[in-house]
Symmetry: C2
Subunit: 521 residues, 2 copies
């Protein structure tokens, strides 16, 4: 049977003052983790599908959508004021943009930025050649093979934070990993942000479901990192969705502006299901997505020029037999590659695709769609890949088993994104001289010198001979994953947290919770 | 539940004289199939990983392997004579090649050729931008969810030929889809080739396990296509393996020469498991593969200049925990992309990768590895993709369920390889004008005009809402695939075969079988 890959060992960090910059610098010298990396720096090119000419046609279509049809910004007078001052044409809530205006506004957005983690070893670069894997986000349900599907709770939420923290192949703690439906709607953001901070030492995301909740999330990050540091550096992300087609509502724009105002990064994401929230043709959905995302990203720059922002995208298709949304299908995979090219032409960090599927189980269907979709994410050049692990049933369920399968595949992608190294040792001419025709390479000097770092070795795959596999119970991948997440949770060790910070966070939460009645919708 | 996609409808072909060329031309006008295509013409670029400089370093390493270490050609004096005459340095069975010699010999090999099918509508182009999907090849076992794993029989073989014929998403009938172990080893090639001809009207492969069996296979193709036509056109393929590292044995070279002599295409394939039959480093394994394949391909040109030949490749890795071979892992996926670049620099058609996995079941593990591996095949520019469907357990098992899952994924790849179309209709500006901000696209004119061709719709995926899926029995993908292959077999209809040809084939087989005792090894 497979040996469980050693969990990430994190050096206990020194106790330090809240937000102390020198303390963080010191910790940085504690050395790299035994396994995994804080993020990936890709060593393979992006997969560029479209010619310059066709990219320009999509950009021109987006420009015409923006200029001729426009985007509504509903119930947010501040946003409309921003647009007026920037020179856009505001007609009621409808805003129209002359070609070039949004591109000009986007010039102040950084091409790459650091999102700091409370463990500085785990801070992530977002943009350029970096790739950051983050868990799935937003499921109301969770499921596992033992108990089936049920609504998520704060205990499930904590479990997934712990599983992500325990995986050497994820880089980010994510945000709303599942909805903790046992906590009041108006208070759960506090428990979610606290769980990320308490049970993980990686970077994380805050709430976007109202301006106040966004601000609470940012305030909690300020407690961890210190006000001054947090004003100058990105310490929290907020994922905001467009109400496609061509509408931004106040919930989203006020949250988006709260993050930008605090110099924190909004991830701007239209979710376009072709044929429903966008046209049924891929090129049109891509053009719409470009228009909607440019507008959202530009609004962050009007709120605070220079604030980090991520160009996000979520394209999907539809089953023409059932009318249901489909995920992990070929059209959005291709769409992702084009979106990647477009984002790079804007010089913005990209969030795109993830491990998508409509399957209700961690089965062959799930991993076929998930693998296609996740490879599109890494091929298209996405820098921040939300939904890297756990996504099931069109994002309705967060799966314990799929989470560890996906995290394992994220490990394989570390190797994949390293590409092929070309040097004398790798080219191995000496090995051929040593071995010669007709002999094997098992014990040769070159193999002995290189085998330890040679190949990706999955902790979920069973590569044993059939007879050995059969003797061990003919277990399938889902059952192996079931065993693995339980082992991971049993062996989980919380990263140390400064007691002063912990106390301040708890005090903040208690005060906030006491200030309002429970609300359940 | 999913509606089963209509099976391919093949027009009954006119009775015709054996191998009549005019008859074939006539049939070509019968119109395209209702579903599927004879092969794919890719509309997306290949995924080129390596720079010119690094490709040259690999080529130089291959050249040094060929010049300094050499390749053994064992027990085939004719092959050695060929090499002597071509100017290679022959020392016993060891042959060394000056840099440039093999490249010069390869100039006579066609960059692209047609393999003719007995139904001319189904002939395939091999090379250039064409992509041909062919079933897995060579498993001793078959398995399904009902009966588990067992040795393959001629009935299983026929079943898989029928399933391939019934799938609109495969293009080729393949070769040794599984070993029919109930037929004597020295006679089973006759039954296999006959089954391809009788139960499919697609192009197929013959035997390579001895020169005589290769010739029998070719003779059977001659019966179908006529001697003259078969001498001028490719009507059968033979897949020959190198005995890596750096050895070609007489079984393979005599079979390879038999195909070339008959102007039929050999597929030249080193199977290199890094750390065993090649170095443990990817770059070295790629260089070795290039050297071995160039030598095999060049030998076909010495046997008959201008004979079609396919540059083949099969890289794999190894589990460092168990010592077992691994398939569908990141290193060979990356290796495939590099091999694709190298094959195009030689201007040869490429066979590379396929739907590989070590999983023993059609589960999440199988489709994760298979999807990664199959995407590498289409990204690297492979023209002929053997092992497109059914591969399980490191090629030890041919799986009924995985066969139909993989064939379904081949359907998704038809859409994927079409890429994204850019024209006014696809860009959909009119749709935005019609719908405007905040409304849906469900019933708009643009959706109505385009929805029928809009999205890939899998026959294996279940995209229904959870409740509907649960009410239908909470069935997983493997169980759906189990149902589907049974339906496909039940609905299978044999394509018409000229009774004169059928009779001649049977007569040939009877005569051949009578000419030798059964041999079981």
């Amino acid at each position: 049977m497979n040996v469980v890959a050693p969990e990430t060992q994190v050096e206990p960090v020194k106790r330090r003052e809240r937000g102390g910059r020198n303390a963080r610098r010191e910790q940085r010298s504690h050395g790299p983790e035994a396994h995994g990396r804080p993020y990936i720096v890709r060593n393979i090119p992006t997969y560029d599908m479209l010619s310059e000419e066709n990219l320009v046609r999509i950009e021109e279509t987006a420009d015409r959508i923006l200029a001729e049809i426009g985007i509504e910004f509903r119930d947010d007078p501040v946003a409309l004021d921003h647009w007026r001052r920037a020179g856009a044409k505001v007609e009621g809530v409808l805003v129209k943009f002359e070609p070039g205006l949004l591109r000009e506004l986007l010039r102040t957005a950084p091409a790459t930025f650091t999102q700091h983690a409370r463990n500085p070893e785990r801070s992530v670069e977002i943009g350029g050649k970096s790739v950051v894997f983050s868990p799935a986000y937003g499921s109301p349900f969770v499921m596992d093979l033992d108990k089936g599907r049920r609504y998520g709770t704060i205990e499930d939420f904590r479990n997934f934070v712990k599983l992500a923290q325990s995986s050497p192949w994820l880089h980010h703690s994510g945000g709303t990993i599942c909805e903790p439906v046992d906590v009041p709607v108006n208070k759960r953001h506090l428990d979610m942000v606290y769980s990320h901070i308490r049970y993980s030492d990686r970077a994380f995301m805050g709430s976007v479901t109202s301006e106040a909740r966004a601000e609470d999330s940012i305030d909690m990050a300020r407690i961890v990192f210190g006000d001054e540091f947090a004003d100058k550096n990105c310490v929290i992300l907020g994922n905001v969705n467009v109400n496609s087609p061509l509408v931004w509502d106040a919930t989203m724009t006020t949250a988006l502006r709260a993050y930008a105002r605090a110099n924190q990064a909004a991830v701007v994401v239209p979710f376009i299901l072709g044929g429903a929230m966008g046209p049924v043709t891929n090129a049109g959905a891509i053009a719409q997505s470009l228009a909607e995302t440019m507008a959202g990203c530009a609004l962050t720059q009007l709120e605070r020029p220079g604030a980090p922002v991520i160009f996000g995208n979520f394209l999907s298709s539809m089953s023409l037999r059932s009318g249901s949304p489909t995920f992990g299908t070929p059209e959005p995979a291709i769409g992702s590659m084009v979106i990647g090219q477009l984002a790079r032409r804007l010089n913005l960090p990209l969030r795109c695709s993830g491990n998508f599927t409509t399957s209700k189980l961690p089965d062959a269907h799930a991993m076929n769609e998930g693998t296609m979709s996740m490879l599109a994410a890494v091929h298209c050049g996405a820098n921040f890949i939300l939904h890297s692990a756990g996504f099931l049933d069109g994002l309705l369920s967060m799966s314990y088993e799929k989470f560890v399968m996906d995290a394992d595949f994220c490990g394989a992608l570390h190797t994949y994104l390293d590409g092929v190294k070309i040097d004398d040792n790798q080219l191995a001419l000496d090995a051929f001289r040593e071995v010669g025709p007709g002999n094997h390479f098992f014990g040769c000097a070159h193999t002995m010198a290189n085998y330890e770092t040679a190949f990706w070795d999955s902790a979920i795959a069973d590569n044993e001979p059939y007879e050995k596999w059969e003797a061990a119970g003919s277990v399938d991948a889902a059952a192996r994953a079931n065993k693995r997440w339980k082992t991971m949770l049993a062996e989980y060790q919380a990263p140390p947290l400064d007691p002063g910070i912990d106390e301040a966070l708890q005090e903040f939460m208690t005060r906030k919770k006491a200030s309002m009645e429970d609300a359940w919708y």
